[in-house]
């Protein structure tokens, strides 16, 4: 029953909640970002990060540094923390933590399949995969010719198997089919994660419902904007939207027929939580939409830490770290390209 988690949560989850709150305290602050934004070279960034928890991961990297190296090493830190938490988690927290990585697993599957289609070397593709989304039989994906084979040979034994029922066809894999497969899998994953959190109940269900609904809505907007001017039909576009969220179902009906960013704005401004996001953008401008959505997401993720005895803090922490890594990637790119005046275009402060 909601409200009684305080009696029993700490038995199995107290230690890990304390760990994750400790990790949260080590997220970079606005002062750290201000210092990083003033760096002249990537080595300066490395020097500033050496005083943070990223220090041990970057200290052995030789100069000249590359932006991808910084992202890779910072991601390794996140992976280590995640694995530490996962190995000490009991059910249902362990399943919850695994759910957090399924999105990366989907991205990795699509990367391997697309790369194989483009005759890339499998080893090279495996090196480019996100470490959080790795699974044992991932290299075998390269042999599949269509989705049916993909499922039968490899994915049937992975956590993604239940998500394939909606997109199994015998059509050969091509760029459009792969994109539809990616988005259909992600839709099925989000809905499954949502149902799982609802089953957990309590504060976890309440907070995760809000966070996942926001994620579903943001995906709907991104799919709409990215598909404008492409061959994706309105019906196909509608099929890629999740069946939950604030925009479901009427907002989705409007988004499905949008042909430009201003029509998307018109559809979204009817929903008060998204009015403030679109109010920050001028008409016709879509460039800052990503940053506006990230800012809103960070706000909601930080609020998850205001309550105790629920699993949403783990989800929130992982997402905040990913945002931090995105910030570091952006700052590194601006420094490397000598575009420091544009660094605040996309940095989202967490604290």
């Amino acid at each position: 029953m909601y409200g009684f988690e305080a009696l029993t949560f700490n038995i199995h989850g107290g230690y890990l909640e304390a760990i994750v709150r400790g990790h949260r305290a080590s997220l970079l602050t606005a002062a750290d970002y201000n210092n990083l934004c003033q760096c002249e070279t990537l080595d300066d960034i490395k020097m500033h990060l050496s005083a943070t928890e990223y220090g041990p991961y970057l200290q052995n990297e030789p100069s000249p540094l590359h932006t991808t190296t910084i992202v890779e090493k910072c991601t390794l830190k996140l992976v280590d923390e995640y694995k530490n938490m996962l190995c000490q988690a009991t059910e249902p927290l362990s399943t919850f933590l695994e759910y957090i990585t399924y999105g990366h697993m989907i991205d990795n599957v699509v990367l391997i399949v697309t790369g194989t289609l483009h005759e890339r070397d499998v080893q090279e593709l495996l090196e480019k995969c996100h470490p959080l989304g790795m699974f044992d039989s991932i290299a075998t994906l390269a042999v599949a010719q269509n989705m049916r084979e993909l499922y039968r040979l490899v994915l049937v034994d992975t956590p993604l198997a239940p998500y394939f029922s909606e997109c199994i066809t015998s059509e050969d894999l091509d760029d459009m089919n792969i994109e539809i497969m990616r988005n259909t899998l992600y839709k099925a994953y989000l809905e499954d994660f949502y149902r799982f959190c609802q089953k957990l109940g309590g504060a976890t269900a309440e907070i995760m419902s809000d966070l996942l609904a926001f994620e579903a809505d943001r995906r709907a907007v991104n799919i709409t904007i990215n598909s404008i001017g492409t061959e994706l039909t309105r019906d196909d576009r509608r099929k890629l939207y999740s069946n939950f969220g604030l925009l479901y179902p009427y907002g989705h009906e409007e988004l499905a027929i949008c042909e430009d960013i201003d029509q998307v704005r018109g559809a979204m401004e009817k929903y008060p939580p998204y009015q403030s996001i679109f109010a920050k953008l001028s008409y016709g401008e879509g460039q800052m939409l990503d940053k506006a959505f990230y800012e809103e997401e960070v706000k909601r993720l930080c609020l998850a830490f205001e309550q105790q005895f629920h699993y949403a803090v783990f989800f929130a922490y992982m997402r905040l770290r990913e945002q931090e890594i995105r910030n570091l990637m952006w700052i590194s790119e601006c420094v490397a390209q000598n575009q420091k005046s544009r660094v605040h275009d996309s940095v989202v402060f967490i604290f």
Binding site: T68, V71, D107, N108, V110, L111, T114, G115, H118, E119, R120, E124, L125, K128, C129, H130, D175, M176, I178, E179, R182, N183, N222, I223, I225, N226, S227, G229, T230, E231, L232, G286, Q287, D290, R326, M329, W330, E333, C334, Q337, Q339, R342, D345, S346
Partner: protein, 210 residues
């Protein structure tokens, strides 16, 4: 008197060639200066796209290594207009010449509109010409959009608008480079003409060697 007039004409001619050369140098330097900011913007847009779509989606691992024809060709046409100097090559871009579409569909090439000849009012003729022109423009636009999407499809079919902006920036940079190459070609040609003029003038002053 006649010699003086001839000398003045020759001087005027050489001045014109020098001016042509200086104009072409100015154009070349201006064009090259405009290239750097376009490339900078392209790289910045690419970084924005990687930030938006994720570094794992926009990476070199996505590029296609299968045998396929280039989407853009550079055509070089060299001609000799006079035996006395090397022909001035000219360069042109043939964009989005994919396997499905053998001929180029560059934005500048608008297919000839098929105009029907009518004996009726001029207004309806003009309207028809405009609508035929609009239709052909729309066809070219659609083809161009399709070819652009095809080139970007290595990163997925639903890509961020920032990636499309980066593509446009690099396309513009390519056009500027070709323009610079043409201007450089005419600059070198003007330079060789000026040099030849100076040699002729020197020989004229010294006179034939006994």
């Amino acid at each position: 008197m006649a010699e003086g007039a001839g000398g003045a004409a020759a001087n005027g001619g050489s001045d014109e060639k020098v001016l042509d050369f200086l104009d072409s140098v100015d154009s070349y330097l201006t064009t090259m200066e405009s290239l750097a900011p376009i490339l900078r913007q392209g790289w910045f847009d690419l970084a924005s796209a990687r930030h938006s779509m994720g570094v794992f989606r926009v990476s070199s691992a996505s590029l296609d290594l299968k045998d396929h024809s280039a989407s853009t060709y550079l055509q070089m046409v060299g001609h000799e207009s006079d035996d006395s100097f090397v022909g001035q090559p000219s360069f042109s871009l043939c964009k989005w010449a994919s396997a499905d579409n053998k001929s180029c569909c560059s934005e500048e090439e608008i297919p000839d509109s098929q105009l029907r000849h009518r004996g009726t009012s001029r207004l309806s003729e003009n309207q028809e010409q405009n609508s035929n022109g609009d239709d052909s423009l729309k066809t070219v636009d659609d083809l161009v959009k399709k070819e652009r999407s095809k080139t970007l499809s290595v990163f997925g079919t639903l890509v961020s608008p920032k990636l499309r902006t980066a593509q446009l920036s690099f396309e513009t940079a390519l056009e500027v480079l070709v323009e610079a190459a043409n201007i450089r070609s005419s600059m070198l040609s003007a330079y060789s003409q000026v040099q030849k003029q100076m040699e002729d003038t020197r020989e004229g002053e010294i006179g034939p060697i006994p």
